[in-house]
Symmetry: C2
Subunit: 353 residues, 2 copies
């Protein structure tokens, strides 16, 4: 297996991404090969600094970088020699088994759709993110499609189920529909119609509407929604995790500071006592631990790592790419999409703008 790694793009590239790729190579199955796409000089400098032998790595030198501000279609036109475009082309041509990038989400999605192509029969691919909650929940779409149809959401449910089945070993993943209430009449007309549609699908283990708070109570394994709401949800969860862990850190740093000697540093002592458990808790709610978000529906594994990924997060994204590429997820989705669907006629005419 060969993983194609875009070491450019994102907030901490190429340093953290390159170090992350080195860490993956060290930790994961030694038979896995890596292609690093990006500025060769920078890669060699980082390797020298880290004392890493580059023999195991193929380097494809590119100087063009897609920035967060670039228009998504630049991946095809203005910047088609960029690390992202080059990596996606290599994946499409079979020169690797998965592609991982921290770059511009819109460009990566557009490039994956136009260069690698989506699975036949699928209307829209979606970005799927594992939420850092008590139990893993796969949320899709988290930003690729700000507007969707009920048919899109049904296909998201099927793709998400296939992913959780193969990668998390769940026999019959529970699918929830994100909504503003538990009753089937809740939500916009699109969500009401989607509820009825999912309830009628025998191959989907639909558990009904899931709200922003029941989500944290192990209500489902897959959660489907439009990309506008999904993106806000995933960022809110990330933001709340950081805010609360930051507040806790302040308690440990400052509790017991005072003019009296005997009051001492209560917070620091408390931190010392439960250091290990707090570390475990921090990791549990840290998006960096999860790593990459697969673009489900693309005919080959393409994973988006968080733009602010550090080396650890990027290494985890590569690990997830390996697991995804080793699994039967894409074959299973392809088979599900090839199955004859009763509403075929309706499906061929998506109603969204």
């Amino acid at each position: 297996m060969r993983i194609i790694v875009d070491v450019m793009g994102g907030d901490n590239a190429p340093r953290e991404t390159t170090i992350g790729a080195f860490a993956a190579a060290k930790e994961l199955d030694p038979s896995i090969e890596y292609t690093l796409v990006g500025d060769e000089t920078a890669i060699r400098e980082i390797a020298a600094e880290q004392g890493v032998d580059l023999a195991r790595f193929e380097i494809v030198h590119t100087t063009e970088v897609i920035t967060m501000e670039d228009d998504p279609v630049c991946v095809m036109r203005a910047k088609k020699e960029s690390s992202m475009s080059t990596g996606l082309r290599m994946l499409a041509e079979g020169k690797g088994d998965a592609f991982v990038s921290t770059g511009n989400t819109g460009a990566l999605f557009t490039g994956a759709m136009l260069i690698v192509r989506k699975i036949k029969g699928l209307q829209r691919a979606g970005i799927a993110t594992i939420l850092p909650l008590a139990n893993p929940v796969l949320l899709l779409d988290t930003g690729a499609n700000v507007e969707v149809t009920e048919q899109n959401l049904e296909q998201f449910a099927r793709m998400g189920s296939a992913y959780m089945k193969t990668l998390y070993g769940l026999e019959s993943p529970r699918v929830g529909l994100l909504n503003n209430g538990s009753e089937e009449c809740k939500g916009t007309p699109l969500y009401v119609a989607t509820h009825a549609r999912l309830a009628a699908c025998e191959d989907i283990n639909f558990v009904g509407n899931v709200e922003g708070n029941t989500l944290m109570k192990d209500a489902c394994d897959v959660l489907v929604c439009d990309g506008f709401t999904g993106n806000i949800l995933v960022k809110t969860i990330e933001g709340m995790g950081k805010l609360l862990m930051g507040n806790l850190k302040n308690v440990f740093l400052h509790a017991g500071k005072g003019p009296l000697f005997f009051e001492g540093a209560r917070g620091k002592l408390a931190a010392l006592l439960i250091k290990r458990e707090i570390g475990d808790m921090k990791r549990r709610f840290d998006a960096n631990e999860i790593g990459g978000a697969p673009i489900l529906g693309i005919s080959k594994p393409v994973l988006k790592a968080h733009g602010s990924s550090n080396a650890k997060a990027f290494k985890n994204a590569i690990r997830q790419a390996v697991a995804y590429a080793s699994s039967s997820t894409i074959a299973d989705i392809t088979a599900a999409m090839a199955r004859p669907v009763e509403e075929k006629k309706e499906e061929s005419a998506p109603s969204e703008s």
Copy 2:
């Protein structure tokens, strides 16, 4: 000033709501009068049990209760003798200065619109919730309007600004538009159009799009969005707060449990050391501390308390009702809506379904 209190409805009524009203009467300005609407027998029993003298309370006996499952229009028809309908009518007739209820949100909103009526010139009222973050952020709408127009969102921005100005003393509240990215091109067509519209309003201190994670970084004082997304956002924040504080509690309860005597109860000792600070933190992120959500745009103060309110939460909702009724918020919104608007023609024809 007289506060009309619906002691029925919600998960913990009439017990917690009645105790909450007693607590408010004890804590707040003794000149405030209270009308309790609900089952008189139950109210008298709770008063006897709590040792409360009912002399300060007017009781309006009703037996009908609107449940969470009831259709919102029942407030006008099938259940017009319910505590909620009765309380809203009393407010409309000037028999009180504010109304607080934990009952069915849809029914309360519908009743407020049809019985108390909205402010002239306003298209839609909205439920406004103070988010329990590091700094208070007023989010609206949080569930009344699952679909909105850009004109609705502009009016929400104006109403939210008036509320934060009068109740939180902010000179020029910063208004953000909830979105899935910071750039002005982000979001659905409605959100893109709203961004341009808000940016053009000279009387609104618009700070641009705010994302689910930047929200936690003091990005704005007022955040506007449709009620579908807003409801999911507020519940996600509540759910994450509970999940993380619950995890922390487990650390304190279980850290150090083990077979060896000398390992002792590390967690319990740590909890003892920083008990006060953890309590403060818990309160900071506890929705119960904030209490009620005003239905902004109604011509008199109507507040929705959380359905699961305990006595403390309900007392806080009453406190907020007093503050709201004492403020010039409604007069200010009325004045703002009466101001001639250039796009008047466009505004009179809302385009939503």
